[in-house]
C-alpha cells in the first residue's frame, strides 16, 4: 500500500493542514508517513502545496513526482498537477472554485462543489473536510475514525465543538463517492 498524495491550492485554503491531518491519521494507524510542504515566499493568495505519503513500508523520497492522488483546490493547481497523476490514480477537484475539466480517461476524477456542500451543513469552514471525506472514501488511505481521532489531537480544546460538524462533512463527502 503506497499513497502519494498532493494537496494544492491557494495559501490560506488549508492545504497544509489537510495534509497534516492525513499524515497524522496514517501515523495513528501505524503506517509510515511523511509530509513535505512547498515553502516558497508564500503568502495568502499565493499557491501552496503539500506532498503526503502514507505507506506500509518506510518512506523513501518525500518528494512526489507521480502522485497516486491529487486534491486541487484552485485552478493553477489543477493545471499543474492534473497531468502528473499516475494512471489509475485519483483527481479530486474543488469545483466550487475550478471550472476546468480533465479530459484524462486513465484516472478517476471526482468534482466536489465543496463550498456549496459545506453551506448545506451550515458551516462554510468545513469545505476541506468534505473533500477529505471524498478522498478517504475513494482511496482508503486512512480511515474516517483516524481522521476524527487526529482532529481531537490537532485542534485546540476550545475548537473541539467543531468536531461533530467536521465528522458530518467527512460523511457527506463519503456519500458523494457512493453515488
Amino acid at each position: 500500500m503506497l499513497h502519494e498524495i498532493i494537496i494544492a491550492g491557494f495559501g490560506g485554503q488549508g492545504v497544509m493542514s489537510m495534509g497534516q491531518l492525513i499524515a497524522y491519521s496514517g501515523m495513528l494507524e501505524d503506517k509510515h508517513v511523511s509530509w513535505l510542504p512547498s515553502y516558497g515566499p508564500e503568502q495568502r493568495g499565493g499557491t501552496a502545496n503539500a506532498s503526503v505519503i502514507v505507506s506500509d513500508e518506510p518512506v523513501g523520497s518525500p518528494v512526489i513526482s507521480r502522485p497516486t492522488a491529487a486534491i486541487v483546490l484552485n485552478k493553477p493547481s489543477f493545471e499543474k498537477f492534473e497531468p502528473m497523476i499516475r494512471p489509475g490514480g485519483v483527481l479530486i477537484v474543488n469545483s466550487s472554485l475550478i471550472d476546468s475539466k480533465s479530459i484524462r480517461d486513465d484516472i478517476t476524477i471526482i468534482e466536489v462543489p465543496a463550498s456549496e456542500l459545506a453551506n448545506e451543513l451550515g458551516e462554510s469552514r468545513v469545505a476541506n473536510s468534505i473533500i477529505l471525506g471524498v478522498f478517504i472514501a475513494l482511496t482508503k488511505a486512512v480511515s474516517e475514525e483516524s481522521v476524527i481521532e487526529s482532529l481531537k489531537k490537532v485542534l485546540p480544546e476550545r475548537r473541539h465543538n467543531l468536531i461533530p460538524v467536521n465528522q458530518a462533512a467527512l460523511e457527506k463527502g463519503a456519500e458523494l463517492v457512493v453515488q
Binding site: 508517513v33 509530509w35 513535505l36 515553502y39 523513501g60 523520497s61 518525500p62 518528494v63 513526482s65
Partner: protein, 353 residues
C-alpha cells in the same frame, strides 16, 4: 512517549534538548526558523536559555562563551548565516571548545534562495574558516535519524573538544515525519575540568584561548589538533550501505537526496540494473572503507548531490581512479527527481537493459 509527528527543524531542537543542550544562540533564517521558535519556548521549560542574538557573528561568539563555561550549547542557521559564523567556528576549533552547529542549507551563493541545497559541503568538510582544521559533520537523512545523531553530535563534541556540524537541507528542516524520543542512558564522558568556571584554590587560572604567538608553540598545538583528527577518522566514520552486495553500480548520496536515490535504485533494479548505494552519514570523516571494498568489483559510481559537484571530489579520492565516477547535480534550490536519477543510472549502465 510514543511516536509524534514533527517538523525536521523541531526534531533537531527537541533532540538537542534530549541530549542535554541547555543553550541556543541563533538568529532566525529560512528554512530553519522553526528550530529557533521551538527553542524559544522549549529551553526555558528545562531551565535553559534561548537568546536571539543581534547577528550570526554575535550568536557564534555567545556559543564560544557558553562552551567555555562547560555547558552544552548549540547554534543554528542556514547557509548565508553559517558563512557569517565561520570566524567564530575557527576560534572554537582553536580553543578546543565543544559545540553543535546546525546548518539547514539553502541555495547559494550569496543570499541565493530559500529552497533546499547541499552546496555547503565544501564549507563544512574542508575547513570553512581559516587555519588547518576539520570538523566532524553528521548528515541525517530521516527525522528519526536526527534524533539519534543529535545525541551523538553532542557526545562527540565533548569527547574530542570540538565543534560538530549537523548538515541538513531545507527539505529535511521543513518536512514532517513521525519520530520517537527514546530515553537513552548517556555515555560516560571526560569531566570538563578545563571549563572556565573559576578556580577554587585548586590550580592556576583557566583560559580558553586560540592565540599562540610563539610559532613553535602554535605548531605543537596544530600537531595536537591533527592527532585528534586522526583519532576521529579512525573511530567515528559512519555510513549506510544499501544493496551493495550484488551491485554493479553504486550511487553515492547523502541526506534527503539519498532518499530520492533509493526510489530510483528500486526502479533501476526492477529494470534489471543492479544498483546499490553508499550513503555517508559522516561527511567528515568521509567513509573510505566502502569504496575500498567495492571499487575493484563494481563497474562505476554515480554521485548525486544538490550542488554543482562537491562530495564527488571525495568520492574520486576514495575510488582512486580505479573506476569511473559520474556526477549528477541540481543547484539553486532545484531538487533532483527520481526519474532524472534513474535516467543517469541507465546511461551509466550503457543504456536500457
Amino acid at each position: 512517549m510514543g511516536k509524534v509527528l514533527m517538523k525536521g527543524n523541531e526534531v533537531i531542537a527537541e533532540a538537542a534538548v534530549h541530549a542535554g543542550c541547555k543553550y541556543l544562540f541563533s538568529y532566525p533564517i529560512t528554512p530553519q526558523s522553526e528550530l529557533v521558535a521551538y527553542m524559544a519556548k522549549r529551553l526555558p521549560e528545562v531551565g535553559g536559555l534561548f537568546l536571539q542574538a543581534e547577528s550570526e557573528v554575535a550568536a557564534i561568539n555567545m556559543v564560544y562563551g557558553a562552551a567555555s563555561a562547560g555547558v552544552r550549547v548549540m547554534t543554528s542557521s542556514s547557509s548565508p548565516g553559517v558563512s557569517l559564523k565561520q570566524e567564530g567556528i575557527s576560534y572554537l576549533v582553536g580553543s578546543e571548545l565543544p559545540a553543535v552547529v546546525v546548518n539547514i542549507m539553502r541555495g547559494g551563493p550569496g543570499l541565493g534562495s530559500i529552497q533546499p541545497a547541499q552546496s555547503d559541503y565544501f564549507q563544512a568538510t574542508k575547513g570553512g574558516g581559516h587555519g588547518d582544521y576539520q570538523i566532524p559533520v553528521y548528515a541525517p537523512a530521516t527525522l528519526q535519524e536526527i534524533v539519534d545523531l543529535m545525541r551523538d553530535a553532542f557526545n562527540l563534541a565533548d569527547r574530542y573538544r570540538t565543534p560538530v556540524y549537523i548538515l541538513g537541507d531545507g527539505m529535511l528542516g521543513q518536512m514532517m515525519e513521525p519520530v520517537e524520543f527514546k530515553e537513552v542512558v548517556n555515555e560516560e564522558l571526560p569531566p570538563k575540568d578545563w571549563a572556565t568556571t573559576a578556580t577554587r584554590g585548586d590550580g592556576g587560572p583557566k583560559l580558553t584561548n586560540s592565540l599562540f604567538l610563539d610559532p613553535a608553540e602554535l605548531e605543537e598545538h596544530n600537531n595536537h589538533l591533527q592527532a585528534k583528527y586522526a583519532k576521529i577518522k579512525e573511530a567515528e566514520v559512519r555510513y549506510e550501505s544499501y544493496l551493495l552486495d550484488d551491485a554493479d553500480y553504486v550511487i553515492v548520496a547523502y541526506g534527503t537526496v539519498s532518499r530520492i536515490a533509493k526510489n530510483a535504485i528500486k526502479e533501476a533494479r526492477n529494470q534489471g540494473i543492479k544498483v546499490g548505494m553508499i550513503r555517508p552519514i559522516t561527511l567528515w570523516p568521509f567513509p573510505e572503507q566502502p569504496f575500498i571494498e567495492t571499487r575493484d568489483r563494481v563497474k562505476g559510481y554515480l554521485t548525486v548531490e544538490m550542488s554543482a559537484g562537491q562530495m564527488v571530489e571525495d568520492v574520486r579520492l576514495a575510488v582512486e581512479g580505479r573506476k569511473p565516477v559520474f556526477f549528477y547535480g541540481r543547484t539553486g534550490g532545484m531538487v533532483p527527481g527520481q526519474e532524472e536519477i534513474l535516467e543517469k543510472i541507465i546511461e551509466m549502465a550503457g543504456g536500457e537493459q
